[in-house]
């Protein structure tokens, strides 16, 4: 497929179709007030967003979730006045909305189970859980086609599951078994499934970014319409590779989506403490002329729609886009971190009130997308899948010692 080349003056922004007649809204104002983190200094006021406006992406790239000033925020609706909306999503059918829910439960249960088996000694090494961030990965990855590539960091189980990797084989990898995706030689931080275009699982912060640029370069070279999506955290933006790769992607106009999961901490370092602009990434990509989309990472539908707009554009035009999803990990950085040294209990609680595992099913019910009985069935089927994965991992054998010497060279 021939890609339309993006020919534009450096300062001319690309329109996503809807010009901003609204001020940016920031539903996290309470959070900012509480934590003094300068999330988005330019965003001052809450404004009413008309529900019909789609996609919710502006030229400056801030995605504005539906929000009304007048109605108090209900914790059960993910923070938005969903009653004001006619539908949960204009773009996604009920089956897809429910599928995303199942993935959400699956990731949560998978992660909890990994935690249990870490305590039992079956899972070892560093274990970074995705609990709290599920809506982000699912919303992002579900906007991709199977031919698209995904590259991620060590907090990778959620992405792997969202991509549809076999839970048995992910779990077996966690257990270090030879039936694992990497034959027990990668572990939690190095999940790969090349056939599914899931290119790792990389444990050096920021190192996956150049790799992803290379995969995108290969697409440009071979003239495909394949999009490469690379995940990383707020902490990774302080690495040189981040800046180098943004420049490279922009100079070469690579078909890549830089997807940052801004969970506000890199291990114990609050982004406001270690990054000059704090948590405000809204114009961080200006130097590279890369457009920014900022989205509420706790809202799976918002993430999905924002990402879809980005994917469509990258596929058509082949130039990079940066997406920031604001999210939060409810648990420690890894299993070695209780997660309570460097952040207030109240901050965690605040975000937990926005737990997608609570808010999203409530929205499905409110909009009549699914019944409680259907949701219960999904939870039961997930439990069965996780049990099966643990059984598979448990019953699988360790690699033979001789296998240490396999796969060193092709």
């Amino acid at each position: 497929m021939q890609r339309a080349r993006l020919d534009r003056a450096p300062s001319a922004p690309i329109s996503f179709g809807i010009e901003s007649k609204f001020e940016f809204t920031l539903r996290n104002a309470q959070f900012i007030a509480l934590h003094g983190i300068d999330l988005c200094a330019r965003i001052e006021s809450f404004r009413v967003m008309e529900q019909a406006e789609k996609p919710r992406v502006s030229t400056t790239g801030i995605v504005r979730p539906a929000f009304t000033e007048s109605t108090p925020v209900s914790p059960s609706t993910n923070g938005y006045n969903v009653k004001a909306a006619a539908t949960l999503s204009n773009d996604l059918d009920n089956a897809e909305l429910v599928r995303m829910y199942r993935l959400m439960v699956l990731i949560r249960r998978f992660e909890e189970t990994c935690g249990q088996h870490y305590s039992l000694g079956n899972v070892r090494g560093f274990l970074h859980l995705y609990i709290g961030q599920e809506a982000t990965g699912i919303g992002a990855i579900s906007a991709l086609e199977p031919r698209d590539y995904i590259v991620t960091h060590y907090r990778d189980h959620g992405h792997a599951i969202a991509r549809g990797l076999d839970t048995n084989r992910i779990m077996a990898e966690m257990f270090g078994k030879r039936t694992g995706l990497s034959k027990g030689k990668g572990g939690s931080m190095h999940i790969f499934d090349a056939a599914k275009h899931f290119m790792g699982g990389h444990a050096i912060v920021g190192a996956q970014l150049p790799l992803a640029a290379g995969i995108a370069l290969a697409q440009q070279y071979q003239d495909t319409d394949v999009v490469t999506m690379v995940f990383f955290g707020d902490g990774a933006t302080n690495q040189g590779t981040f800046h180098e790769t943004l420049n490279l992607a922009s100079v070469w106009q690579l078909p890549i989506i830089f997807f940052m999961e801004n969970n506000l901490y890199g291990m114990g370092s609050a982004v406001g403490r270690v990054r000059h602009r704090g948590a405000d990434f809204s114009d961080a990509m200006g130097a590279y002329d890369v457009d920014v989309i900022s989205v509420d990472g706790m809202d799976v539908v918002a993430v999905r729609e924002a990402t879809q707009a980005a994917v469509d554009r990258v596929r058509a035009q082949g130039s990079p886009i940066f997406i920031e999803a604001k999210t939060f990990r409810f648990v420690g950085h890894s299993f070695a971190d209780p997660g309570d040294q460097y952040r207030e209990r109240s901050e965690v609680d605040l975000w937990r009130r926005r737990d997608p595992l609570e808010t999203y099913p409530q929205r499905l019910l409110d909009f009549g997308v699914a019944s409680q009985a259907e949701l219960d069935d999904i939870a039961a089927s997930v439990d069965a899948e996780i049990d099966a994965a643990v059984e598979f991992a448990t019953n699988s054998s360790d690699p033979d010692l001789s296998e240490a010497f396999d796969d060193v060279y092709a």
Partner: protein, 325 residues
């Protein structure tokens, strides 16, 4: 057989690969418009276009990493570093990514990529530009390391490197670019892990690689004048190392001197010595001697640099000490 330079041999190998394999492309700093820091890719941009010959920003980590990514999905990038000293900036991408990807993915991913880099000291570039990190990189499993000493080997090893489904460090000693030698018109490849006996001899085994082989040739001539008949072994690749050829030679001569053009401490020859003494102790008539660069940062001053550099005199001197044992 025509006589061409080491540089021309590499140019030929690159051109050949670009012309015969659509998946091959080369990238690096100033390889296009500028023609390459050592003129290896002169005229390539005009001839092959900017898809096959990509100038990169000065971003070693990013473009080496991009090479790894492109290779991981089927292309065959050849990446040029202006100096192997600059590999440090991209070490993470080379070691943690290029070399480890296959293993930690359980064999799912191949990284058919060549990293070419000039190496070596001797032209007063000072501490940051004179190092020989092929000896560091040779230790990394999952990667090969080729170090040609002459035009014919350069072409044969480069062909093998480009065809390899694994990452390859291709270290080109900068003193060698102008060196001339005969190169066959018939197509040939030189496998990794197959040392070359540069000259045969019965009294002493001399071992090195790359530019070190030139130093050994000079030393062997001097030793011949003293009636010592030295055999020279050119390792050709540091990963894998052809231990068998070295051991067989030592079993014949009973004596060995090994030369690193890199710093002696941590040089690759300590590995060779270790293996040879394990396998050929009973054949040895004296200790295996090592010669290498002195263990200081590379000085700028010519006199100092020449003193730090190992040369033929150092090899002859080591041989005398060995024989007097």
């Amino acid at each position: 057989m025509p006589e061409i330079t080491f540089r021309e041999a590499i140019t030929q190998g690159l051109a050949e690969a670009i012309e015969t394999d659509q998946n091959v492309f080369i990238m690096g700093e100033d390889i296009g418009e500028y023609g390459g820091a050592y003129s290896v890719t002169k005229g390539f941009l005009e001839k092959y276009g900017d898809k096959r010959v990509k100038d990169t920003p000065i971003s070693e980590a990013a473009f080496v990493g991009a090479g790894v990514g492109a290779a991981s999905v089927g292309l065959r990038p050849i990446v040029e570093l202006m100096s192997i000293s600059f590999s440090l900036v991209a070490f993470d991408q080379i070691v943690n990514m290029a070399a480890n990807l296959r293993y930690m993915s359980g064999g799912q991913i191949k990284v058919p990529m060549v990293i070419r880099a000039p190496t070596g000291a001797g032209v007063q570039l000072g501490a940051t530009h004179s190092q020989s990190f092929e000896t560091w990189l040779a230790e990394v499993p999952g990667m090969y390391c080729a170090c040609p000493s002459n035009p014919s080997d350069a072409l044969g090893l480069l062909r093998t490197s480009i065809k390899s489904d694994n990452p390859v460090i291709f270290a080109e000693h900068s003193h060698l670019y102008g060196a001339r030698g005969e190169v066959s018109d018939d197509y040939y490849e030189i496998p990794f892990g197959k040392a070359r006996i540069d000259r045969t001899g019965d009294d002493l085994t001399l071992v090195s690689y790359g530019f070190g082989v030139r130093v050994l040739q000079e030393a062997a001539d001097a030793l011949a004048a003293e009636g010592i008949d030295a055999e020279i072994i050119d390792l050709r690749s540091l990963s894998p190392v052809d231990f068998d050829t070295v051991v067989a030679s030592v079993q014949k001569t009973g004596r060995a001197v090994m030369l690193d053009t890199a710093r002696k401490t941590g040089g690759i020859m300590s590995e060779i010595v270790s293996e040879v003494q394990e396998r050929a102790m009973d054949w040895l008539d004296g200790p295996i001697m090592r010669v290498g660069a002195k263990d200081v940062p590379w000085p700028y001053n010519r006199g100092l640099e020449q003193d730090i550099l190992p040369d033929a005199d150092d090899v002859v001197e080591a041989t005398r000490r060995l024989i007097s044992v």
